[in-house]
């Protein structure tokens, strides 16, 4: 089978792989150096939303399920982490784990119900359940309703590193972000990811090959929810509060927008989309023009002109094809 081995890595592809590694290295270096040029809290916000969008994309881009309720996992985890850190006095890393576990549990319930239907019906179920969770958060005493959980302490990472230092916090967020991205990359490029891909390609064929498709979908749903929770928990620590904004349906919509703008089914697309939307949000926050008008306009442009999203179009272009050694279709 020497032929297969050599064929899976042609010299051209190996060169492309090197180019890819180089680009990833440069990007990481850029992120490490970024706080020298940008306001760390802004960068951390971008990273949290980027991770959120990537988690969402794991479901939409790689499994083909459109969730319109991902805010429940993101905002829910923010509440759980904030509560665990503030009220129970847990350390930040444990607090985030509480958020992730809570989001995964929510994902299990919502996913279990949503994957019984397909397409738009499944999406409506995620929206309905997320709205139920929103009203739960509005009423439940531990979330403090409209006020939210405020003054969440960042604490000391592993009891050692003081996260109230902006730079320490930034590098912690960066590390978690990269870890989350690596996890997603690993899931996509794993034997399990292969099955997800085949389900998305041809579901009834996957069934006829003996795969209980609903289990794979549910697993992907829970993974996506847990990673969205990771982003949400992180955000609660960054901003030191958790509010209803993060569980509202607008947040679910925003993550769809970020992912579409960046490029569905690409690993870095959602990162770019999140960075763009967050930057626009910050930039126009103080201007007279409502930011929703701007993002809405860009979204329409995206649908009309570059449907694959920014990174999707780049991959489809000649440059992208060369960079990827034409492995992507």
């Amino acid at each position: 089978m020497a032929r297969v081995m050599t064929q899976s890595l042609l010299p051209r592809q190996r060169a492309a792989l090197n180019a890819e590694t180089l680009l990833i290295g440069l990007a990481v270096l850029g992120l490490i150096a970024a706080p020298l040029y940008f306001y760390p809290v802004f960068l951390m916000k971008v990273l949290c939303f980027a991770l959120f969008a990537c988690a969402f994309n794991l479901l939409l881009g790689y499994t083909g399920i459109l969730s319109f309720g991902h805010a429940a996992f993101f905002g829910g985890a923010a509440y759980f982490t904030a509560h665990a850190v503030k009220e129970w006095g847990l350390s930040p890393e444990l607090g985030i784990l509480v958020g992730v576990a809570g989001a995964a549990a929510l994902g299990l319930v919502i996913g279990f119900l949503a994957i019984r239907r397909t397409g738009i019906y499944s999406t409506m179920i995620t929206l309905a359940l997320a709205q139920m969770f929103f009203f739960f958060c509005l009423q439940a005493p531990f979330t403090h309703g409209e006020d939210g959980i405020q003054g969440v302490p960042r604490g000391h990472l592993f009891g050692l590193i003081d996260l109230s230092e902006p730079l320490n916090m930034y590098f912690f967020v960066l590390a978690v972000f990269l870890l989350g991205l690596f996890a997603i990359w690993r899931i996509i490029n794993s034997p399990f990811g292969m099955i997800l891909k085949s389900i998305r390609e041809n579901e009834s064929r996957a069934i006829s090959l003996g795969y209980t498709v609903s289990r794979y979908k549910l697993a992907a749903f829970v993974m996506s929810a847990a990673l969205a929770g990771l982003a949400g928990g992180l955000k609660a620590l960054v901003f030191q509060f958790a509010t209803l904004t993060d569980v509202s349906w607008q947040m679910s919509g925003e993550v769809v927008l970020m992912t579409l703008l960046g490029g569905i089914g690409t690993l870095v697309g959602p990162v770019v989309g999140a960075a763009l939307v967050t930057t626009l949000g910050n930039y126009f926050a103080t201007s007279q023009i409502p930011v929703t008008l701007i993002t809405g306009g860009i979204f329409m442009l995206c649908v009309l002109v570059f449907r694959r999203g920014i990174i999707g179009e780049l991959y489809a272009s000649r440059l992208g094809k060369w960079l990827s050694g034409e492995r992507r279709s």
């Binding site: 064929q7 899976s8 490029n189 006829s208 090959l209 697993a219 279709s329």
Partner: protein
């Protein structure tokens, strides 16, 4: 449908074990009876054809047998086990694997990946989300063997979407065989194929039927005559007649049902 089409030579009349059987199968769609009282015995190492005019319910019978549809009444047994209420993925794992009328490949996966996906589950390599894709290389030998056996070795890195129609069907057969099924259900395996592809696929089907039962829906009566040991004719959801090709082709009711179509 006359003596011009010679029945398959040497078809042996001995009784082989029944591996798939349906009794009194019935399916209604909102009052319309699509399939009524269908009794079917599919035997080991035999090729059984299901023929009939358009809308006779052939595909519905397939969907019922593979549990993609639930029968309104009736029972289905696979290898002696009742599978009337079993879910389709489980039925596939028990050894009853089907193909579809339109070619069922994973279009944006390579030929090699298409076959490997089928091999992953039996090899216990389907749920590991923490392992790299490299882990799947251990399936390459077996996948290549299957790809060789259907003659696609020159295309193993092509995307399935780029294959010709006939080769897609051949690929589908390879992925189906990867599961080592006991019973193979082929829904119009030759539909839309050129002559040479038909010959290749006929040869492949004959080959795979040495060790397993094959039930196929087929419109090409020449193929049915040459390939199949037993033929069941469906009309308006009911079995018109069942038997070997000669018996069936000489039945006046079949001639009537097929009037004008014997030349395809």
């Amino acid at each position: 449908m006359s003596a011009v089409i010679a029945p398959r030579e040497g078809a042996d009349a001995g009784e082989a074990a029944v591996v798939l059987s349906a009794r009194g199968l019935r399916r209604e769609f909102a009052g319309f009876v699509a399939v009524n009282d269908v009794n079917l015995d599919v035997r080991h190492a035999r090729i059984h054809a299901l023929i009939g005019p358009n809308g006779a319910g052939k595909t519905t019978v397939f969907n019922l047998l593979t549990k993609f549809l639930q029968p309104t009444s009736g029972t289905i047994e696979l290898l002696g086990q009742d599978i009337t209420r079993t879910d389709p993925a489980r039925v596939a794992r028990m050894g009853l694997v089907r193909s579809f009328q339109i070619s069922a490949v994973f279009p944006h996966l390579s030929v090699l990946d298409n076959v490997r996906v089928a091999l992953q589950r039996p090899a216990g390599l389907a749920t590991q989300f923490w392992r790299p894709l490299r882990a799947l290389r251990q399936l390459d030998d077996k996948a290549m063997q299957l790809i060789h056996s259907v003659g696609l070795q020159d295309a193993c890195d092509c995307l399935a979407a780029d294959l010709s129609y006939g080769r897609k069907r051949v690929l589908e057969l390879a992925t189906t065989l990867a599961l080592e099924p006991r019973v193979l259900l082929l829904d119009e395996p030759m539909a839309g194929m050129g002559h040479e592809d038909v010959d290749i696929v006929s040869g492949l089907i004959r080959e795979v039927a040495r060790e397993r039962a094959v039930l196929m829906v087929e419109h090409n009566l020449k193929v049915v005559a040459q390939l199949c040991d037993e033929v069941t004719v469906l009309q308006r959801g009911e079995i018109l007649v069942s038997g070997d090709y000669r018996t069936v082709s000489e039945d006046p009711r079949v001639r009537e049902a097929y009037m004008g179509t014997e030349d395809d």
